[in-house]
């Protein structure tokens, strides 16, 4: 069959169209487009059918479908191609965690406060030391999980997200590290500190176990598609991995008590609540 590939404005993107076998899939079509255009690797392409009257959102074509099943009866074989721009794999996420990992200890170890006119010598409270260890362990854990635990789908994110996310992580890291390690920092009582870090450690361990469960859900052949997690906290909470992540953050804040720390928690929780298709039962 001959497939015509146009842009959203109707202009033909691949001159003369693409000749494919009758059993070809959408994925085959994307591969041919990639060959003909050069720079449009598969993850960068979004193929959809032309809008029919009354439609507001186009029908996006799924990779595994056969082309003959996708085109309506008797229609021209036209697909609309959208260039999604440079994409990155999900595993690139680890890069976003490196920033906070190195930024935070700088405020603990280096005499940075003199640059804002504050006294250089300061008394270091135990909670500040524990907080630095806790924070660095948290981001170290995230990086390790990205490499060794998480199994990512083939889905990708726009490159611009990396810049946006790095700004987000680094800005909050600077603010939180600044206030927790401040020369005039006021620590909470010892009991509160132990409760906070205790909660945090337990939740981080639980979170790790949730990630293991999620990893084992994935078909070793990488079939993809969604499966319901079972066992452990997933029996009670839909997105137990996000829940434990939020509560470990709460633990950190109970122990360190800063306005910016709590603000970060609120923002992060809000962002996470958006992710799953069904609401997170926190």
């Amino acid at each position: 069959m001959l497939v015509t590939v146009t842009s959203r404005s109707g202009k033909e993107v691949v001159k003369g169209g693409i000749q494919l076998s009758e059993n070809a899939t959408v994925k085959d079509l994307k591969a041919s487009i990639h060959k003909r255009t050069g720079k449009l690797y598969l993850e960068r392409q979004r193929l959809s059918l032309p809008l029919v009257s009354g439609q507001t959102r186009p029908t996006v074509l799924d990779g595994d479908k056969r082309l003959c099943d996708v085109f309506p009866e008797g229609s021209d074989h036209i697909v609309i191609l959208k260039d999604l721009g440079p994409r990155v794999k999900y595993s690139t996420l680890f890069f976003e965690y490196v920033g906070p990992l190195f930024i935070y200890p700088m405020f603990y170890f280096l005499p940075l406060y003199k640059f804002v006119g504050l006294p250089e010598k300061r008394v270091i409270h135990p909670v500040q030391t524990y907080a630095t260890i806790y924070w660095c362990f948290h981001y170290f854990k995230r990086i390790m999980e990205t490499f060794f635990v998480h199994k990512f789908s083939h889905a990708t994110s726009p490159l611009s997200f990396v810049f946006r996310n790095c700004c987000y992580y680094r800005s909050f890291a600077v603010f939180i590290a600044y206030f927790v390690n401040h020369p005039y920092y006021t620590p909470v009582g010892e009991t509160q500190m132990y409760i906070g870090f205790g909660l945090g450690i337990i939740c981080q361990l639980a979170n790790f176990y949730c990630h293991i469960i999620l990893k084992n859900l994935r078909d070793p052949k990488g079939q993809g598609g969604y499966q319901n997690p079972r066992g452990f906290l997933f029996n009670y909470i839909t997105c137990a991995n996000y829940t434990t992540e939020i509560y470990q953050g709460l633990g950190f804040n109970i122990a360190t008590q800063t306005v910016v720390g709590y603000s970060f928690l609120v923002v992060a929780a809000y962002i996470m609540s958006d992710w799953p298709a069904f609401c997170c039962l926190v």
């Binding site: 206030f179 927790v180 401040h182 005039y184 920092y185 006021t186 360190t256 008590q257 800063t258 306005v259 910016v260």
Partner: protein, 221 residues
């Protein structure tokens, strides 16, 4: 629901004309004072209607959020944010700035722009007409009034800077139990810096709006 649509229209008509009346007072008193007393007295003459009309504009954020109007929050927020900031955090908070000649250029730029804008929307909501002259004014005067208005805002903030630093007004110092601090001087510098990307963004947004509006007018002609 037809009833809801009518209610929305009445509300928007009333809102636009009431705020219009506020800005009319601002312009009137500004011009009067300039003619009789001089620029040092302009702020005192316009303070109340200015604060009223400008603060009322906060409602427009909610209008956008709840879909009462089509303007995106991304364009309304910086505009209203900078106006409220200059009105309350600079002029009201630091009386030393009130006698500056920049107050006059600020108030004239703001009031003329807003009179055109509110009457345009007021006409549309109340009478269903969009006079092409008014539409032309709305999408053309910004070419001059945005630069004069923005320069006046920046000028006033710069005028206030030394007083912000010395007075320590609105500053929050550590130690405190919430481990939070706020330095107004740094925050003011940061606000000034935000005008560097912010101004071209707003200006080009209006240029884009102008192109859209004129294309629409051409189509329906």
């Amino acid at each position: 629901m037809a009833g809801l649509a009518i209610l929305k229209r009445i509300y928007l008509a009333v809102y636009n004309w009431v705020v219009f009346a506020g800005w009319l007072q601002v312009l009137y008193w500004a011009v009067q004072t300039l003619r009789t007393s001089g620029y040092e007295a302009v702020y005192a003459a316009v303070e109340r209607p200015l604060q009223f009309a400008q603060t009322a504009a906060i409602l427009e954020i909610f209008h956008g959020m709840f879909g009462l109007v089509r303007s995106p929050v991304s364009a309304t927020l910086p505009q209203i944010g900078s106006r409220i900031y200059v009105t309350w955090a600079i002029l009201w908070s630091f009386p030393e700035t009130r006698t500056s000649p920049i107050v006059s250029s600020l108030v004239l730029s703001w009031s003329i722009t807003e009179l055109i804008r509110y009457s345009f929307f007021g006409m549309r909501e109340a009478f269903g007409i969009t006079p092409s002259f008014l539409q032309w004014l709305r999408y053309s005067t910004f070419y001059i009034l945005y630069p004069t208005g923005i320069s006046s805002e920046v000028g006033l903030i710069l005028t206030a800077l030394p007083y912000v630093k010395v007075s320590e007004k609105y500053c929050l110092r550590m130690p405190n139990r919430l481990n939070i601090a706020f330095d107004n001087y740094f925050a003011t510098l940061f606000t000034l810096a935000s005008y560097i990307p912010g101004s071209p963004y707003m200006y080009t947004y209006m240029i884009g709006q102008r192109a859209k509006a004129l294309a629409k007018a051409k189509k329906s002609a």
